[in-house]
Amino acid sequence: MGNSIKQKIHILSRNPNDRKSLNDLIGMSLNIAVTYLKIKFFSDINPKLKWQDNIEEIAMDAIVPLFVSNRDGKLGIIKALENWKSEITSDSDSYFFLNRVIWKRVEQTVIIKIKQRDPIFARIHKNLSTCIATHNFKKLSYLGTVYIVHKNTDEINGKLIPDDEFENLPGYLFEKKQFKLCNGILDYLVTETEYFPAIPMNRLVVKIKQQYFRNSESNSLSAVTKTNEYIDDIFTLSLQKINDKIYNSYYSKGKLTKDESDAIYKSFEIMAKEISNGGLNSSLYDYLQINMKDLTKEKFYTDYHGIMNYLLIGFKKNISKLFEI
């Protein structure tokens, strides 16, 4: 590819429109992002995400902001370079810089997409972010993964807790909230394990969500049963609102037939199950098609997409609003 990464970045800092350098860097960035996504989230053996999305599309969404120029004509990647704390003196440094920036962008993009599909994840994530910002914590990333650490931690430089061991930390640690939750886990990592005091943020969000969704059969504690009832109530209420909207605003006004209304409502019942179980996995078309076998994409986008998309935004908002943590 001719020039080194360092030279390409240098060229782009002087001329953001240098097509050759731009395309070479875009290609490299895409390759890094696709590989990272495949291994971290969509591995064949143990996929963390079971979406039907095209991995290349997600990778594109992740890298595009790095090649958009701001008002001063400066590319995102050049701005990232200006904010890079270490000095870049060799091509090896610039390789590391490029990788680290892409890993971070991919993680950010995946989180945005998870939040769009799972309003409960989004709500917990938002609350945790507020807790981090308002208490003595901060976020640090290590090979793309975001960790919660104490504010005085400058760099992660120790052994990190593996996913399976984080899963098996004592349940009582996760029964606390906000500051006590984060502080309790960090203290536990220091005093009871050999791991670096850093909490994988997204694993923690998933864990908190699981706490709410624990099956009452697996635990006889009344508090857990109460939690299940609480979750059931949230979904029942949110589905009830959808039902009211479909039948009172669309069916009764002749905008949808009875069969269409039923099919759309059943689609939301499926979506509710998926949201409670990790987030939406399919497109609106796919959900409706389950209940309308002959539905074509053309008919869906002409007749139903607008309605279902509007209903879904309200549905997610309601779940998020009712979910108090």
Binding site: M1, N23, I26, G27, M28, L30, N31, I32, V34, T35, Y36, K38, I39, K40, E56, M60, D61, I63, V64, P65, F67, V68, S69, N70, R71, G76, K79, N83, S92, Y95, F96, N99, R100, Q108, A122, K126, S129, T130, A133, T134, Y142, L143, E155, I156, N157, G158, K159, K317
Partner: protein, 175 residues
Amino acid sequence: MLITEKDIFFYVFYPDKLDKDKKSFIEENQKDFDEQIYICKNIQSSINKDVDPEIISEIEKKIKEKQNLMNIELFKVENKKQMYSEYLTLAADSQIEEEKLKVDTFIDANSEYIIKVINTAKENNIFIFEKNNDLIEDFDLKILPSGIEYEHINNQKPLIISPKVNIDKILITIK
């Protein structure tokens, strides 16, 4: 021994440039860094693969679309002035009047973002909201005409500018 992500990266990409002790430590404890090493090795073998020109064109198209969405201008909404013409303002009240808060609202053309600026006598408190009240994780903000800039911020806390500046327009760049 303290091993950073850069050490792992160098262990895979540039082993000769890595400190010998660190290299030995990673080799001896490879199990602890399995996933990280695996990711780096896979990236190393894929980073220079040729990318289909059609995909590059698609990315260029997305860049152009994003260009328009990322850079957002927020203009001040003119406050309706309240008229108190029937009341007399006494000179003795003037000091108190100056201490009052003044709130300015800024909004973009698509009403996607709203910024409330609470101006006290000494400072501007800037609150940034997204239309769905979502967290905006990473953005830059520029205040005009002063040109004050903030980079890589989020909207969890208000920005405080002290001493107070005049604000006519606010530019934000979403990352």
